[in-house]
Symmetry: D2
Subunit: 229 residues, 4 copies
């Protein structure tokens, strides 16, 4: 499964699990089927991966993290083979809520690449984004830590600057901008400003109708993309 421009990550973090997560993931799956030019990813807690993967076919089931270990010791760590077997085909890495040592990040990215798990690696500054680009991420999420969960989106200059900085190191890396995305409007504007993809957590989970917000955002993603073709 490839991640392509434009993509959308529904990232409910630890807000959702079990039945409620499944219900949202199924709707995301329908939308992904409906808009085949859009790549839709849904993150899940580790123990929910199998349940989500077994009940969907168009979304990329995405882990919240993995550790760069190989089968063996390593109790309490996230074995890449285990999440792949359960159905994960992408993973977040180095989120501000789960920062990784540089060496661990490099090792985790290597193991993910070996298994065909796409990496969405987080950076909170342009310099970090460029450092991560050197390690061959599939997607780099450029999220100024200070904006996470604030409802404020990154401004045009930040988006353009990080986009250019990442593509300068490696034009094949996709860029994701997701700080403060709270409406379909935000999704539309972020893609228009040049991000390859975007995503949302509490903007969806806290919406009056999370299902409706999810749909509106994916529709907006598709619209921004159709206009540029």
């Amino acid at each position: 499964m490839q991640i392509k421009r434009p993509f959308f990550v529904f990232n409910p973090k630890s807000y959702l699990y079990g039945e409620e997560l499944l219900r949202m993931a199924k709707r995301a799956d329908e939308l992904a089927g409906q808009y085949p030019e859009c790549t839709v990813l849904v993150t899940t807690p580790f123990a929910d991966i199998a349940n989500i993967a077994n009940n969907t076919s168009h979304i990329i089931v995405t882990a919240q993290h993995l550790d760069g270990i190989t089968p063996g010791r390593g109790i309490g760590h996230v074995l890449p083979e285990s999440i792949y077997y359960a159905g994960a085909r992408a993973t977040f890495l180095n989120h501000a809520e789960k920062p990784m040592a540089l060496a661990d990040l490099a090792q985790a990215m290597k193991r993910a690449q070996e298994l065909g798990i796409k990496t969405i690696v987080c950076a909170d500054s342009v310099a970090e984004a460029q450092a991560i680009a050197m390690l061959k991420a599939d997607v780099i999420l450029c999220e100024p830590t200070e904006l996470i969960g604030t409802g404020q989106t990154s401004d045009q200059s930040y988006i353009e600057q990080t986009n250019a900085a990442i593509k300068a190191v490696d034009p094949n890396i996709l860029t994701m901008q997701a700080a403060g995305i709270a409406s379909a409007e935000d999704v539309y504007r972020t893609i228009k400003l040049g991000a390859d993809g975007t995503g949302c957590t509490s903007g969806i989970t806290n919406a009056d109708s999370p299902i409706q917000m999810l749909e509106d955002m994916i529709v907006a993603l598709n619209q921004a993309y159709q206009e540029e073709k």
Copy 2:
């Protein structure tokens, strides 16, 4: 589900996942059904919990770790509700390969207790075991870190001393001794020396016949227990 004396933990760490883990877990499940006075626990990677839980009924499916978070943010952490939903009813905590800050350990134990997830908390000295006993663990694993994976078992004096020290703080806490368990003999002797339970990782996964070794160990566990009744 209760953990009672005598218990056995098959802890394949990250050595096994997917089909191979499932095959072993099913055999453990049959044995647990066959020896109902013995509690059998099987640890699994997070993403394998659901698969193992859905295909077994006598074992206690055990997570390798959980984090003391509540539903909300916390990407990359192990949400207790998610592993409970998937079928985990016990968890390791503070293993030498996944050490926890004291405050995080206390918080994880609290969350596990709220959900009815039994805690198997690791200590590598008598003083630490007593500190953990203060936090009301269900099981304390007294494993001198320097013996993990060496094939050397704890000696009689260590086992008796830790047993007594833990029961002195809280007689309801079960004690587990598992350093260097590599044969059915080791299992038998450890229970005879007074441990409430024991367990094994590489002694099983590296055995000529892991399935046979698993069976031999549970038989030995049961035998030691029957002799003391």
Copy 3:
């Protein structure tokens, strides 16, 4: 050097270093000389320990942390022998801003005890305080994490409860209560409520006259103690 009831810890964390820290430490030293029944401790950044120790004689120079390592490898960690040589005779451990794995905490306490460095170990709940008491701390700081830096002090019931819980495990351990201490009043009341000692960070460093506030607090400490004799 012994820590005795009543004691006061001036803990400027990383607010002060160099000349300004030295000036405050010298004043604390004079006050410690003036009130010999009160033990006065001053914490310093690691690299300031020698400068403070070389210029004072009545205070206990206190490190902010140490690691349970022995001379050898361990680059970037805090070698106990190095801080002892520089003049530290006490150390904080497991502060909420520098949480320690339980095994690391136990090892650090052991190394401190070997060198004659007193340990002030932080807990943020009664259960944790009791766990730490099992490890033989010299002082336990019972600071509910949620109150740090808020200007709210722990209430009477919390102070009495933690005091009793710790003394129940080990009556030789001194208790420190320092949440939200912002005035001489707070110091006086905290000792009256039964804490063996207290301390202050921003209540002093942010005061109109930090020197005056330091003096007022130590005077209040002494007064509370004199009244109970």
Copy 4:
């Protein structure tokens, strides 16, 4: 103080402190005065920085680590201002024994640059070295983790490859190769192979005469450099 080709880092880690460290640092200082074209750096535990800096004038006193904090809270962390005040003018960062999260590393490098503290940042693969080069380190230490302390040096191909990879990203960054340096021969060969600098820990501290070994290594460093002029 500038770090220039060729440079030598005497990095006694936590093997030395107090009097013995001072004795070695003084000898390093004499040698640095004697070979002014060679930059000599000596790392010290945090609490020894002031003592070493006050008693030397030609070496660059080097911290083992610093944290990217500003004066304020942060108890137990290494305040850059404190080590600068004590006399440190360079620091190691991200050593395999003290790995840093990428965001913390970036922040620490920024704070070091603000104060004029040179950064020696460790990488254990070519990809990591390039990632770090993006963050504008002053020196990158390319040390395959698996060789640390083994007495095996990096081979010619590794040295040339990392050198080229780093200079390709930023030709102003100095490269350091120090894996397994155990003799003056090793120092000579490493500089000849193109490293800008090298260094040594146990090869000196465990030598029959550490002082003599230190001298031999600096002489060899100078000789390799003179031959290339």
